[in-house]
Amino acid sequence: MAEPTAASSAPSTVWSDLRHVALGNGLTVAALAVLALIVVLGLIGPAIAPWDPLASSASLTLKPPSLPHPFGTDALGRDILSRVIVAARLDLLMAFGAVVLSFAVGTALGAVAGYVGGAVDQIVGRVMDTIMAFPLFVLAMGIVAALGNSVGNIVIATAVINLPFYVRFARAEVNVRRDQTYVEAARMGGNGPARILIVHIVPNILPAMMVQASLNLGWAILNAAGLSFIGLGVKPPTPEWGIMVSEGASYIFSGEWWTFTFPGLALVTAVFCFNLVGDGLRDVIDPRRRT
């Protein structure tokens, strides 16, 4: 089944769509605002965090939310609010890193496979089939376990399991376009295949790919958090939402609910906003794929 593709995206319609979406769906705008806030936290978080996110305190262990510590403190007496704020940067970096990586590699591979076809297409297709044949989360687990748990490896693992979606998408889009008249025209004009791909085809498929990427960001955060939860996350004492939930989970039955609830809600908020904004973006760029 070939996806119906959006061929035309003239600037004027984008603007009217944008206005339509923004007016018609305040939620998306709100999500965008929250997201912007999270990004700002990611940028300047360490500067505005009220406390040192790494400083422990023997007298302040597991204190419920209070005025000086609105999110309470964890088992080592560290301020959870500060940790949640500072963690934003790492979580965003991991998600963006993974998505950018699979986006770049996936687009390149898919575009080449779709344009060149033949053996290259076959090989790329088979490799992607192989990745898809794994339960994705389990593959990510395996990669991180094998390479060692570091931020870089979590990013790589998340990028690898995402790769097939980008490759297939890019391949399908390129496949549709390579025989279209404007490409033919470029070819007649004496352009080489590399130039045709880079100048004439890829820019046209980018908007749709970007939508895919934006919808993927939330998922990438969840994936990294899941890895952290089972102990394959970043190293302590680095604050990261998934790890904080996982650490807090051990206090679930002793009533210290704030230890996992606030990092968990931060996680949920970020993913939720990413998904909403991704949806909104798609409505603008690629309205026909709205589901």
């Binding site: 089944m1 018609g24 769906n25 939620l27 088979r126 490799v127 089939d129 192989t130 898809m132 044949a133 794994f134 339960p135 994705l136 989360f137 389990v138 593959l139 687990m141 395996g142 990669i143 376990a145 094998a146 390479l147 060692g148 939330g218 969840l222 958090a225 899941g226 939860f229 089972i230 102990g231 394959l232 998934g242 939930v245 996982s246 989970a249 679930i252 039955f253 609910w257 996992f260 968990g264 996680l267 949920v268 908020t269 993913v271 939720f272 998904n275 909403l276 949806d279 709205r290 589901t291």
Partner: protein, 340 residues
């Protein structure tokens, strides 16, 4: 006849990716940190005893030979022995797979029971409040990490309210007797055994993990349903039906839904396989004796035979699943014949 050819073609097309899976699994497992020989040698290990165990396990030979050995054993159905359970991996997996299948199936059922109506509802009033609400609900559902939901549900429903049974696996053997295994699915086996109490016990255990797992599947199902319904409702035959004065209920459920089933079934395959992977996190929280929890422990413990076996089994399962989805799709709509 045509179906047989289709099936054969479909299976043949899966062979290369299975070969890829075997290679990747092998390499991945070898890359896991930890030395199985040192593990077997235990706390009283000496360099000599580790070396002799390594030779015994064949780990001192070149990687290529180890691979040949691995494939040879694989061909004979030997997946090796799990270090942590002390049992053949194949046996471990066979015992645990039904638990995961049952949980995943229930989660899917939960997601369908909620996702389908939501999608249909949204499609009948596109762009209206109800549509936006449906979208909001599924987006929220998709934003919750499965493990977070699982923890919250256990905390609220078991610990605080006491309306759910203890998160202790599939069936409390203290209060119930395990039915004789027929399908391996307790919800069916208990009924076959005629033990209604045990059936209720087994279902009660399934509720929370299924919700935690299924919540994530809501979004794709509801969205695909909505899209497919929209397409179907705007198709010529629905317009015709409407023009003929058929009731909207009849149009929605009698015609549109039937035509929307095909893309839904297609996405179900994907969702099911995705859920099988996500099982890993939920099983951990509910002490579910499935393959997911087994895999997590195997990865953490560098139990490479178990990791290999699990991943391989999952990959084979995926291929079979996709095959089944293709066949169902063909059955629903004969126009969709596999063309690979």
């Amino acid at each position: 006849m045509k179906t047989a050819v289709t099936v054969a073609k479909r299976i043949a097309s899966a062979v290369p990716s299975l070969v890829g899976v075997v290679v990747v699994t092998f390499l991945l497992a070898r890359a896991l940190p930890g030395d199985p020989a040192a593990y077997y040698a235990g706390s009283s290990a000496t360099p000599e005893s580790i070396a002799s165990i390594r030779a015994h396990l064949g780990l001192d030979r070149p990687l290529v030979w180890q691979f040949v050995d691995y494939v040879w054993k694989l061909a004979h159905g030997d997946l090796g022995i799990s270090v942590s359970s002390g049992k053949p991996v194949l046996e471990d997996l066979a015992v645990r797979l039904p638990a995961s299948i049952e949980l995943t199936g229930m989660a899917l059922l939960f997601a369908l029971l909620i996702g389908l109506p939501l999608g249909v509802l949204a499609a009948t009033k596109p762009g209206r409040l109800v549509d936006h609400l449906c979208r909001l609900v599924v987006t929220v559902g998709a934003a919750f990490p499965t493990f977070f939901v699982a923890l919250m549900l256990v905390f609220v429903c078991y610990y605080k309210l006491g309306i759910a049974p203890e998160p202790l696996g599939r069936l409390s053997e203290i209060y119930y007797t395990m039915p004789p295994p027929v399908t391996g699915l307790l919800s069916i086996d208990t009924l076959l055994a005629g033990d209604i109490d045990a059936f209720r016990g087994a279902i009660a255990q399934l509720v929370l993990p299924s919700i935690s797992l299924g919540l994530f599947a809501l979004a794709p199902i509801a969205r695909m349903t909505r899209a497919a319904m929209l397409t179907a409702l705007s198709s010529d035959f629905c317009r015709t039906a409407r023009a003929m004065g058929l009731s909207s209920g009849r149009i929605v459920f009698g015609y549109a839904l039937r035509n929307a089933l095909l893309p839904i079934v297609n996405i179900l395959g994907m969702v099911f396989s995705f859920l099988l992977g996500a099982n890993v996190l939920v099983e951990q929280v509910f002490a579910w004796p499935g393959v997911g929890a087994y895999a997590v422990n195997a990865v953490i413990a560098s139990d490479y035979a178990a990791v290999q076996g699990f991943v391989l089994m999952m990959a084979i399962l995926y291929v079979l699943l996709n095959l089944a989805v293709d066949l169902v799709a063909t059955a629903i709509d004969p126009r969709v014949a596999y063309d690979g």
